[in-house]
Structures are given as C-alpha cells and as structure tokens.
Amino acid sequence: MTPGKDQLIWMYDKMVEARYYEDSLAAIYMEGKTPKFDIGSGPVPGEMHLAAGQEPCAAGVCVHLRADDTVTATHRPHHAAIAKGVDLNRMTAEIFGKKTGLAGGRGGHMHLLDPAVNFACSGIIAQGTGPAVGAALAARLQGRDSVAVSYVGDGAANQGAFHEALNLAALWKLGVVFVIEDNAWGISVPKAKSTAVRDNAVRAAAYGIPGVHVADNDTLEVFKAAGEAVARARRGDGPTLIEIETYRYYGHFQGDPELYRPAGEVAALKAKDPIDRLTKHMLESGAATRADLDAVAAKARQRVDAAIKFARDSDYPAPEEALEHVFA
C-alpha cells in the first residue's frame, strides 16, 4: 500500500503544520518564564508535552481516517489532534486557557476533547485504550463501519488498561487500531529498562491479533501499516497493534532538564528528520515540486499563526465559570 499524490501532500501538510505548531508553542511556553522558570507563569502555564519528531505517527495513521472515526491520544496530543482535524483555533485557545477554547479553558493541553471530530486525549497513561474499544463497540452495535485509533506511548504498553483493552478488542473482533508511539523514553526511564521485550508489536501474539513493527519513524511505512490495519478494522476483521519507532525532540515536558538523555541523541535523530525524508521522497518521485511544497507549508504556517493570534486575542473566562459544566 503506497500513498497517492494527494495523500502525500496531505501528510506533508499535517506534519509541517504540527511541527510549526510545536516549535511555536515551545517558544510561547517560555514567555513569562524567564529569567526564572516558574511552571505556573506565562500565557501557557502548567505542564507542556510536545510531540515534535513524532509527526509520522499522526499523519501516517490519520490520513486513513474520517471525521466519524475516533482517536484517543496521549498526554502529548497536538500532532494527533491536528491530523484528526480538531479545530485549531479552539484547541489553541484551550491551551492558552481562554474562554474560546474547546472546553472554555477547563481542560488545557492534556485534556483536549473535540466531539465534533471524535477526538480525545488524556493525562493518564493508557487511559484512552478503553474508550477506543467502546467507540468501536458502539459502531458495531449501531451498524456503522467507523473505526477507532488509540495512541499510547511505549511506557503505556506496561499498564494494565492497555492489556485489558487489547484483549477485549481481540475477543470481540472490534475495529480498533492500537498505535504505540515508541519514542524510547517514559519520562526518564528508557524503554530497555521498562519493557522486557524489545518490540511491543510481538505482544499482539498474546491476543491473537496482528502486530506490526515500523522502524525508524518512516512515514511511508506508517502509512502502509496503518492503511492495512484501518482497512482490516473497517471490514470487521478486528484489531491490530502497531508499534512505531519514533523520535521525541523535546524533553518529556518543557523545562525538563533531560539529564537522563545521552548527549547527541537529539542531533542524531534530527539528522534523519521525517519531514525532510518525506520531502525528499516527494521531490524525487515527482509527487510534488519544491514550489508546491513551499506553498503548502506557507499555508500551514498561516493557519498556526492565525490560531495563536486567535488564542492570544481571546478573553480569559470569568473566574466563576469554573463552577459550570460539572454535570450535563
């Protein structure tokens, strides 16, 4: 399974948009936090987990999805949210804690929830796996062919909820694609010190479902693995587990001193950046010209800049709005 020209352009667009979004947020996050870093200060307070480098996991999977498909993402959610089509203005306003945000500022960056495109994420490891199973179950019961994708990190593959959800999805042959974004780190703990198998995809065997390993953050390989898994799910043939070796350019959270990380790791990863590799492929295969890509990238950056302006210009909620929406 190889992507057509439109799909390549779409993935490039989403990856550039996500990367520019993350790099922009990284800079904005530091506003008000210098010279003294205080996590609660500035326009974007609290924890901030960035996914720069992990774009293939979002674009290469979500290119196969529709708005009526469900995505549950991790605490590092922006790239997946962008690829799933979450409203960028309202998402950014939420991250800024503004009234115009998806939840009016109640959720923040780890709790983006957009029912319009069936997207949710969570600050609790592996928490999205159960809801993805539920979304796929609902589709079955309602006679729809929509599917669910549940993103987790490599650390989450050691959480009980992950295994229970895999077993349920396999047992009931539900249309779920479990995607492990293996960025090699669970905060400071390397995968080799938290997981007894090198490749989590082999764990699929325990549940009698296919397991696919995607090496080296390769967008085209992600496209292929996810395409087959989504098609299989949509056909009613059951779940698939995909583990993608991906890259985390930033720390676990912004402000993470990263003392655990070997020197030079990020530079080595950046030398094989997935956006650069996709660009090279598109140019060499004739899928796009440099001018085409520049135009796509310029528009993506405009969308991000507009969303950030929208967020900055929006008002904060009135304090007492904190009391609203506890119940439906």
């Binding site: 609290g46 945000g101 703990v189």
Partner: protein, 339 residues
C-alpha cells in the same frame, strides 16, 4: 552550624529515606523516575548514587503491579517505599491500595504486618488541570487500614517520613508539590525549616498548634496551613486573634487538640485543599459537634475546594482554590462580622 541547617521539604524527605536506608537494609524505594531523575518532585534525589539500582528502583508505568509488589515485599519482611507520581493516578491502582495494602493486616487477624510507605504528590495552584492537581486527602483517609500523613513543612516532613518507614502498617504519605521547594514552582518560604541532622520520628496523630489565639480556631493541613497562617496574620491586624492548628496526619486524626482549642475559642474554621463535600472539613467539624455541641458559640465554617474538577485556566483555578482571603472571610462570619 550543622544543627541550624534549613532544608526544603523535598530534601528533608530524601534525607529521611537515606538515613533509614543506611540503618535498615530492608528499606528500599521504587517508583517511576525515582532513580536517575531523583523523583519528579525531588523526594528521592541523590538516593540512586548512594544505594544503587537494587534498592532505588525505577519501575515501568505499572502502578497496579509495583504497588501490589510493595504489599508483597512488605509482607515478606521488607520495608518498601513506593511512589505514586501524582495522587491523581490512584485510579489505575486503587485495588492494590484499598483492597490489598489496607486490608491484609485485618484479613490476617493481626498476624501479619504491611510495613510499606506509599508517597504521592498532591495539590494544585500551577495550572496543570484536573488530572494533575487534586488533593484527594479524604479518598485515602476514608479507607480503613491506611495511615495518612500530609506534612506542611520540612521539619515535619522528615520526622513523619521516618515514622512512616518504621510503621508496621501501610502509610500514605501525601506531600504537596507546591511545598517541596522546587526551583520551578512557586512555594511559600515558610515550608522550609531548620531540620536536625539526626534521625527523629514525629508520632502520628499529634497535631501542632502553630499559633495560639483566643477568638477562633483555624484547622488546616498541608499547603492550607500556610494559607491559614497568612489569614491569621491579616486577622491579627484587625484585632482578631486566631489559633492555627496543623493536623499533620489525617489518620490517625488528633481530634483532642482540636476540641481543646475550640473549648477555648468557641469558634471553628476548617481549611482543606481537597473537595468540600464528604471530606476532612466535615470530619473535623463533626468531631467537635459530636464531642460537645455547646463548645461552639457560632456555626462552624469550612473553606475547601468546591465540588468541581480542577480547572486549567488561571482565573478559574485561582477562583476555586482556598486562600487567605476566603479563610479570613469565614473567620469573620463565625464572629458575626461582615466578610
């Protein structure tokens, strides 16, 4: 001037653990990022270098597994200290805590011990939203079989940690992120304290009267102790003399000190960062009312987190968090004065 060192709460906790590990080979630590990282909130800083990976053990993200393992190790003669990184994560491992750690002594008819410490970070005030900011004191204090500790300063943090490690029952040690003395989070300087170098134990169930006063009793715990002291200072400027009590432990709860204080002041305000309903505030008020309702000259007041998830956005979180102004207003209400 060794005896006059001032330590932050996180350094006091790490020192307590290190001292107990030196004298007792059965003590060990495990949890997420407690090794190389030294604990996200600094409670295990330096331990890996001194004690090595066997006794300072980074775990996978598997709280049900490693907290369950702490129970098993404790019953097999060890004294494990496990860290649940944020108390908000209790949902994934509550069975190991409530149905295992808290019940095995009872299920053995007192024939076994479960000498484990579960330390966990609580509290908000830094805009981290509803899954990383809760206090949740009552959730654990409500479960029989768990001792629950929540220090407000470095001196108590060390002494209570040593007591927790030496205790033969499971102890939940709830430390507030905003009291740890971290470089990257605002914290009240009053949380740092002179901490003796020698090991010392602070018994559970002994509240501390931090400020003596005639007019009203303010009872608080953890971060709210500092807010209560700020309120007491502000009230003093208006001629209102507040007594401030730091409970230090929720289980066992020092009801006696509270009752004796109210016997003197006749007025009671209870402050907690945990949710208002069904919580510590109600428990303390009930303790006084049940003892002798005539001790109260006015209706008691509680100042707690409203019954809403913790909002992310700054104006909303600031609105919801208890603070010195709200405590002051509640005190004035007990005195029949306009807030």
């Amino acid at each position: 001037m060794k005896s006059n060192r001032e330590l932050t709460v996180s350094r006091a906790m790490a020192e307590a653990i290190a001292q107990e590990m030196r004298t007792d080979p059965s003590v060990f630590v495990m949890g997420e990022d407690i090794g190389t990282y030294g604990g996200i909130f600094g409670a295990t800083a330096g331990l890996l270098d001194e004690f090595g990976e066997e006794r300072v053990r980074d775990t996978p993200i598997s709280e049900t597994g490693f907290i369950g393992a702490a129970v098993g190790a404790a019953m097999a003669g060890m004294r494990p200290i496990a860290e649940l990184m944020f108390v908000d994560f209790y949902g994934v491992c509550m069975d190991s805590i409530s149905n295992l750690a808290a019940k095995n002594i009872y299920f053995s008819g007192g024939n076994c011990k479960v000498p484990m410490v579960l330390m966990t970070a609580t509290g908000g005030g830094y805009n981290d939203a509803g899954q990383h900011s809760q206090a949740l004191h009552a959730t654990f204090a409500h479960l029989p079989g768990l001792k629950v500790v929540a220090p407000s300063n470095a001196y108590d943090a060390k002494g209570l940690m040593i007591s927790a490690i030496r205790d033969d029952s499971p102890v939940i040690y709830m430390f507030h992120k905003g009291l740890q003395g971290l470089a990257w989070m605002n914290w009240p300087q009053s949380a740092a304290a002179i901490v003796p170098e020698d090991a010392y134990a602070i018994p559970f169930g002994e509240a501390k009267v931090l400020r003596e006063g005639r007019d009203v009793t303010i009872v608080a715990i953890s971060m709210m102790v500092h807010r209560a002291m700020e309120a007491a200072e502000a009230l003093a400027a208006d001629g209102i003399d507040a007594e401030v009590i730091d409970l230090r432990t929720l289980v066992p709860l020092d009801r006696k000190t509270v009752v004796e204080s109210v016997r003197k002041t006749g007025r009671l305000v209870v402050v907690d960062e945990d949710y208002s309903s069904y919580g510590l505030t109600a428990e303390v008020i009930a303790s006084v009312v049940e003892t002798d309702i005539s001790l109260l000259k006015a209706a008691p007041r509680r100042v707690a987190y409203p019954d809403i998830p913790i909002p992310y956005s700054r104006p909303m979180e600031d609105f919801a968090l208890p603070n010195a102004d709200k405590i002051g207003a509640a005190v004035r209400q007990t005195l029949g004065k306009a807030a």
